[in-house]
């Protein structure tokens, strides 16, 4: 291997690593706040990439109907257990609150489908469809069992992953889709051919990370999320309910996954189940930081990116398995290096 190849592989490693880092951050966020391993993250990536490609093909993506059905289910779930009169009295308000966003997203999607050349509108429509799915999934699948053990939450997360993958197959079919490139520009830097596409990926990832840092360090909402991650009982005592922080963290995670999906959509053919594998690599990156540290999760994800690029050069047949094997030494190292502590099973 000479320097040219090393540089060329590094470019790949950093581009992919940036996306994994975003996903790892979302996984750490969801896990620290809710104790849920966000297995369905991959479906949000696929949904975003495929929704974008559908819109570019002039179709309203099926995810819009999922969003509207989800809104109705949330209203139903909120009404369960209330006396009939109270439920009926609150119904109109709830319908307006829960359905406003899905219907608006549907409207934007419908408008966008009629304008296949308007890239910005397509991006806005995709984000508007995929982001609200996050809190909906939390409300329907996890909020009723918010106090369950980490293992139960994980099992439910896996179940949600399968349900959403199946829905992806229904909405988008088994064929892969690739969206139009955002830009076909490329620059020659020495021996490297740097595409505007990969610059965009790195730039967007870094910007989003900076924005997340701002949210957590400078806004009271971000601090409330952080507070929930640090001390759940303490958070309840200041009026931050588990459902509030759960839905907020799922909204952020869905938004991050949607951005990742948008970033990779033009670089690879995305199938209904592609997202899972990508998200799994983010998970390996997050494991490096013990699912608890944002900076270490980013470092771990870049490591995954480099390992992937290197193995695709030397042993391309084992590319994915090598990346996932990384988790074994990482877990060994973490279990030996960190003092044993009881997991935060307290409620």
């Amino acid at each position: 291997m000479n320097l040219d190849i090393a540089l060329w592989l590094s470019q790949d490693a950093i581009t992919n690593g940036a996306v994994y880092a975003l996903l790892a951050i979302a996984l750490v966020l969801v896990y620290t706040v809710t104790r849920i391993i966000f297995v369905p993250q991959g479906e949000f990536i696929s949904f975003a990439a495929l929704s974008l490609a559908s819109l570019q093909a002039g179709q309203v993506p099926g995810t819009v109907y999922l969003l509207i059905a989800g809104g109705i289910l949330v209203v139903a779930a909120d009404s369960v257990g209330l006396p009939r009169a109270v439920a009926l009295q609150r119904l109109p308000g709830r319908l307006i609150r829960q359905m406003a966003l899905p219907l608006a997203a549907g409207g934007i999607a419908w408008w966008s489908a009629s304008r296949p050349d308007d890239l910005w509108l397509q991006i806005v429509a995709t984000l508007a469809i995929v982001t609200p799915l996050g809190p909906m999934v939390y409300r329907l699948a996890f909020q009723p069992i918010a106090h369950a053990s980490v293992l139960v939450l994980l099992i439910v997360a896996v179940a949600v992953h399968y349900v959403l993958t199946g829905m992806g197959l229904v909405f988008f079919g088994g064929e892969g889709l690739r969206s139009n490139p955002y830009s076909s520009l490329s620059f020659n830097v020495g021996v490297l051919n740097v595409t505007a596409q990969s610059l965009l990926i790195v730039f967007a990832s870094v910007t989003l990370m900076a924005a997340l840092w701002f949210v957590f360090e400078r806004t009271l909402y971000g601090k409330a999320l952080n507070a929930t991650a640090i001390n759940r009982t303490g958070a309840q005592l200041i009026g931050v309910s588990p459902s509030f922080s759960g839905q907020l963290s799922f909204a952020l995670a869905a938004f991050i996954a949607a951005i990742s999906g948008l970033l990779i959509a033009p670089t690879t053919t995305v199938y209904y189940d592609t997202g899972f594998l990508i998200s799994l690599k983010g998970f390996v990156g997050a494991t490096v930081g013990g699912m608890a540290s944002y900076p270490l999760a980013v470092v771990g994800s870049l490591l995954v990116g480099f390992l992937e690029a290197g193995s695709s050069f030397w042993w391309s047949a084992f590319k994915d398995s090598l990346v996932f094997t990384l988790i074994v030494p990482v877990l060994l190292w973490r279990s030996l290096a960190t003092p044993h502590s009881e997991g935060d099973e307290r409620q």
Partner: protein
Amino acid sequence: MSRREAPALLVARDVTVAYGKVAAVCGVSFDIRLGEVVSIVGPNGAGKTTLLAGLMGLLPLRGEVERFGKGAVPPPTVEQLVRAGMGLIPERRELFATLSVEDNLRLGGFDRWRQGERDGATDLANIYALFPQLRERRHQQAATLSGGERQMLAMGRALMARPKLLLLDEPSLGLAPLVTREIFRIIDRLRTEGVSILLVEQNASAALQLADYAYVMESGSFVLEGPAAELARNERVIEAYLGLAPVEGPRKLQRETAKQQV
């Protein structure tokens, strides 16, 4: 002068709180009135902390509880109670250890801020006036504070929500006598500012000196109740909780007269 005639903030009738099948609190009834400090004293394991957790919605509770003149079905959540004006300062403090002191305090006012109240800065200034140590340490992580400062921070955080009724669980636990006195002085001051307080304490002599009314709790039930000054003279209470401490006598008398002047 009796605060017992003021309107009731919280009325509990036949309240039972259980961990799974084990009832740690069985069928207690009591009330807290506006501007009152009510104390529950009793030995370790009597169920005092469990009762507070139940009142605050952290544990499921059976029985009737009227808070601020309203009963509620289904039982309110912790967050609804915080919004209604209840605050709990738990025995374990439950601070946000890796956040700064100031962030802990600001988060105490998070729910008011979310409701559109933008006067958190005034509240923060008031808390700093009440606890000058916290102002000095406002940029430090909460984890670096001493035990007494942590208790002050937990109180400050709860006060940021402007509660009408504060539940205090063992505020003196693990604190040096001087710090304990300071904490009790502040509780006394909160009462004059109109905050009603339910004080759970193992330090019975301090609690009975401060409280207006008190209950003695043993193995999940109340065994005695009465005006705190009377309980402090009760033979059984003296024997079990106060010990024969002659020095307490004159000082308590001073406190009593001081209180009557307030």
